[in-house]
Structures are given as structure tokens and as C-alpha cells.
Amino acid sequence: MIEKELVIIGGGPAGLAAARLAAEAGVEVLIIDRMKQLGGQLVKQTHKFFGSKKQYAKFRGIEIAEILSEAALKLKVEVLAEAVVLGIYPDKVLTVLKGEEYIKIKAQAIIIATGASEKVLAFENNDLPGVYGAGAVQTLMNVHGVRPGSRMLMVGSGNIGLIVSYQLMQAGIEVAAVIEASPQIGGYLVHAAKLRRLGVPIITSCTIKKALGSNSVQGAITVRLDEAWQEIPGTETTYEVDGICIAVGLSPLSNLLAMAECRMKYIGELGGLVPILDSSYQTSQNGIFACGDVSGIEEASSAMVEGGIAGLSAAHLLGKVHPQYDELLIDYKQQLSNLRSGPGGVKIRKGLQKMETL
């Protein structure tokens, strides 16, 4: 059994920020990540990020991944990459699989920052090869330089749907249309504007009915919806596409939290099953923290800030107080408040209100 002071599960923006703050406070940190490269979903974001300077606004996601990784590695944070955490137990023992090696680690404190996963949409033939989660298409294009198709239909007009459509066009893949079931465009208007400039139609009150093809996607049938979100017969449109991207939202990857017997609650606005947290991002299990998308679907900018708070708090619990503990906590809480105070923050604020306080 290997013993570690602080283990962070997930090396994305939340995990990396937590690692840096905890390491700065003098904690020995180990990050465990499934992938070879650190950065989580940032490694495939080629667009520039929003927010303020403190959240690296204006920088591309891929650049932010590098900045955060370098900052953590500089502080001698240990990394176990290409390793999957299979189990977590209330006495803070982790079981990890790396290749053929099965490792057991006892941690004094754990931060779970495992992020989120694409939701699926139910429609006829949704299991055909060629139906991809939008993130999958991003991974293929932006990490591996592979074109998953030549003409695609995007289902979902939230930020992910809009951004991935733009990135598809940048990679030379045509986007036949972006369809959205609700009557309004879900994501930022600036993302929608970029797509309209390229001649990509955005069709609201429209959903996908069926994917066509026998061995893989060869087309898609969409249908319009009325005010009650019911299909309007006769409004079916067929698109000739060889790929369908599903961007209908993310769901927290909270299995490890449930396994550790943390108290969970289903909150729709936060994406699904989330842990109940206190203001320091600690779960109902002493010494187990959660931050980033796993604690509620939001943005990378908020994930970084939440990670910072969790890192500071975990270090504090371990008796190592960061030299700027008080100032940073106040600053981070202010940053989160700023990010969430606008109209775009309505959903997350509603979701957080529903969370019980411990």
C-alpha cells in the first residue's frame, strides 16, 4: 500500500489548479489521470477563452492546459498518467489500474475532479457508427488531426454545439445545420454569430427524428417542434450527412463520489447527480473534496477557481496553510461570484441554491 498526502483524481483545469495551490502550501500532491497528457478537456479547445485575466481569458484552451500543467509540475507535483481509479473507499484507500499494474494507495485527503461526460439523445438509429458526442469530434479533430466525416449535422446549440461546429468548419468539415429543440439558441450569441457568418443555418424548435444508414450514418431526418415541444407532422427534413454530433449537455462523472459514500443529490440545473458540498468544497466524507464539472456543470474558468479553493482547503485540513490563504479564498470566491452574476449564470445559481448545506 502506497501512502500519499493528497491525491487528486483528474488532471483537468480543476485538478491542476487544486494541485498548484496545495503544492504551494507545502503538500505532497499526486495527480492521477486516465490520459497521457494533462489538461482534461482543455487539450482540445482551440478557441480563446472568456472570463477575466485571472482565468486566462484570451488564451486558447490548449494554451491554458500547458500553463496549468507547467505550473503544477514546476512545484514537483507527482503525476500518475494513463491510470484509472477503479475504486475509492471511505477510509480513503484508492485502487488504481495502470496498464497491467494494480496499485493501492492510502491518501490522507482526496480531491475528486473527474469532470463530466456527454449526455446521449434517444432517437431512431442513435447507435449507428457516425453518431458522435460533440466532444468526441473535438478529440478526433483537435488532438489527433483526424476528420471523422465530411458533412455533419450538429444537434444542440449550447456553447459546446456552437463551438464544435465552428471548429468543424475550421478543420474543413461542412456543418449542414445546427438544430436546437428549444425555441432559442442556447449558447453565447457571439458563437452563434460566428457560425451564421459562415452560412451555417441554426434552426430552433427542431430536433432529430432518425439517423439513416445501414452500417454507418448516411443521413439524418429532423422534424420541427411546436410550443409544447411536440413533433409537427409533415415538417420532416432529410439531410445528407455522414456524421451526427450530439451536443445536448454534460453529466457529472460522479461514480467515485457515490462509491465513497458521499451524500449526493440530483440537481438538474447542475447536470445530474452531484455531491453535497460545504463552502470549502468538502463532501460529507471528511477529507474528500470535489470540484470542477463533477460538482456541477459549468465552465473551465469556474473549474479553475473551484480547484483553487479545494486545493487551499485540502491543504488547510492537512495542517498546511497556504501563505496567502485568506486573501486567495476571498479573491476566488469573488471571482466565482463575478463569473456567475450575469444572465448566463442563472442556471448555475439556481442549481447551487438547491444544494443543501452540510
Binding site: A136, L140, H144, V146, S150, Q170
Partner: protein, 102 residues
């Protein structure tokens, strides 16, 4: 289908790797996952559904959905989307739930 030129990213200069898919020789690049190398070679069908034998392919590409499982170097149920491609890998489609001990 590989992206040769991209307005933001650079995919040039990667080392070529050789692997086989159902005994067919294919080429991938350093940094590819088994799944990305297969998609780049035009392969869309990764497996079949156990009961109805419907074709299955990639969905999430980051290791969450289990759609992409294949036999890699004799080991079944390998999530090809999070397995880094190595020189000489043998990739095969899995016809059933897999056998660990033959």
C-alpha cells in the same frame, strides 16, 4: 481521413506507426489512440451489439461510454479510445463478450 493543414493546429512531423486491424496492415501516428488511427483509416464499425448484432462505433472518445471496445494484443474489452497506439499492435473486432483465458 487526416487533416493536413489546420488554421490553428500543427499536425506535421509525427512519427509513423504500423499496426494491424483484423490482420490488415494500417498506419497511424505517434500520439494516436487506437480509435483515432482506425477512424483516420476510414474504419467506422468497431464492434457489434451483443444481441441484435447492430454495428457499433465510437461515441464519446474519452473512455466513458464503452462503445469502442475491441481486442488489442489478445486482450478483450479494451477501450480503444483511451489506449495509446503502439508500434506493432494487433487490433481485432470482438465478436462476443470476450474471453480472458483461452
Amino acid at each position: 481521413m487526416r487533416i493536413k493543414k489546420h488554421p490553428i493546429l500543427n499536425f506535421e512531423g509525427r512519427k509513423e506507426l504500423h499496426f494491424t486491424f483484423n490482420n490488415e496492415p494500417l498506419i497511424g501516428y505517434e500520439g494516436d489512440t487506437v480509435a483515432s488511427a482506425l477512424v483516420a483509416s476510414g474504419i467506422k464499425i468497431f464492434s457489434q451489439s451483443p444481441h441484435l448484432q447492430r454495428p457499433r462505433g465510437l461515441y464519446c472518445a474519452i473512455g466513458n461510454c464503452s462503445s469502442c471496445q475491441m481486442i488489442v494484443d489478445g486482450i478483450p474489452n479494451v477501450k480503444t479510445c483511451i489506449t495509446i497506439l503502439k508500434e506493432g499492435m494487433r487490433v481485432e473486432t470482438q465478436k462476443d463478450r470476450g474471453h480472458l483465458y483461452d
